[in-house]
């Protein structure tokens, strides 16, 4: 089975929601990956749509680089609505 490609599986659980990563399957090709994903991850109507993506085509940020990538956003508090204080009289905005 190691000679079979690894595919990551994404499932849209309900119409209107994003596809979400649920796991992976091995398969000889994409069509088989789709069938395997359906059997493995949606036996109890867990989804309305499936994506299968070859794992080796995904570019991921290294998790140990978290600081380099994400730290700059920490000091940009003005990007959040909660940074802007409004008088109570203004009401809900």
């Amino acid at each position: 089975m190691s000679e079979w490609r690894l595919y990551e599986v994404f499932v849209r659980s309900k119409h209107g929601l994003n596809h979400k990563h649920v796991g992976s399957v091995h398969a000889a090709d994409a069509e088989m990956a789709m069938e395997n994903a359906r059997e493995l991850y949606t036996r109890r109507s867990e989804g309305v749509s499936i994506w299968v993506v070859p794992s080796d085509t995904i570019t991921a940020s290294a998790s140990d680089e978290k600081e380099v990538l994400f730290d700059p956003s920490e000091d940009k508090v003005y990007r959040h609505a909660s940074f802007y204080k409004l008088p109570d009289e203004v009401g809900h905005m």
Binding site: M1, S2, W4, G23, S24, V25, M32, E39, L40, D64
Partner: protein, 330 residues
Amino acid sequence: MYAQLVETGAKRLKTKEEMSPEEREFQEKVDAETKIEAKNWMPEGYRKTLIRQISQHAHSEVVGMLPEGNWVTRAPTLKRKLQLMAKIQDEAGHGLYLYSAMETLGADRDEEIEKLHQGKAKYSSIFNYPTLNWADMGAVGWLVDGAAIVNQVVLQRTSYGPYSRAMIRICKEESFHQRQGYQILLDMMREGTEEQKAMVQDAINRLWWPALMMFGPHDDESPNSQQSMAWKIKRKSNDELRQMFIDQTVPQLEFLGCTAPDPDLKWNEETGHYDFGEINWQEFYDVLKGNGPCNRERITTRKKAIDEGAWVREAAVAYAEKQKQRSQAA
């Protein structure tokens, strides 16, 4: 527990001072309940322990299909047969979730399966017992899956992210298994003939102790537990889990109108738990070493399935290759 006696390679815990800076940072993350993910730095011992535990867990799910497979063609009604097949398919799925989690650690699925076939990797001792009558399907679902749930519910909080997520999926599906099993027994006890009721008691008599053995040796006989607990791979000790299982199972046993084959089993008002007799540990170690009633048969069946299915896998690869060439030519 589907993983018993998982070797950690550590005789004792390292103190914070003895740890390398990376190890210390890792331990602090674990202590703070931050999940470890595949690409994070981790001690080699942690990686190896997880590969051993998750593969053992996966092998257990896969071998666990065999005792039940024995009854697919013998199920008393079509409804029971469909339920049993759905349960067995779930076990296959659980095996796959777990093998996937294991592969994120850099282990190779085929190699790990080969280790199982060579007798180098273990699977839960429970699956080396035969399933002799239909009530065994009930008792397996209720007791064996029940014991597995107690263990797996706790493992949802295990420190390794992919393992924890696999556990969450598995737990969602397991409660169907346990209820399905209990209902088989309940129907037999309520509507069955005297002979059928006797089958239920017989199944419980045979599977009760092996189910308790699933949690592994006593804490003081479990040299690897300390390290596994420090890494939060394990979250509760063998004895704690076994006690939880007994406390929740005995009332269900009484409701069935059956008894456990343990004269020492009784409620202890002071501790608020059930007291129970000593497990036959010699039997446990014998089965684990490969000398249970069905060890050889289970491994032979697994090997046969892999060997005789080889042509199917080859055909799938050949077909995929042909389709690829066709689409390139077009």
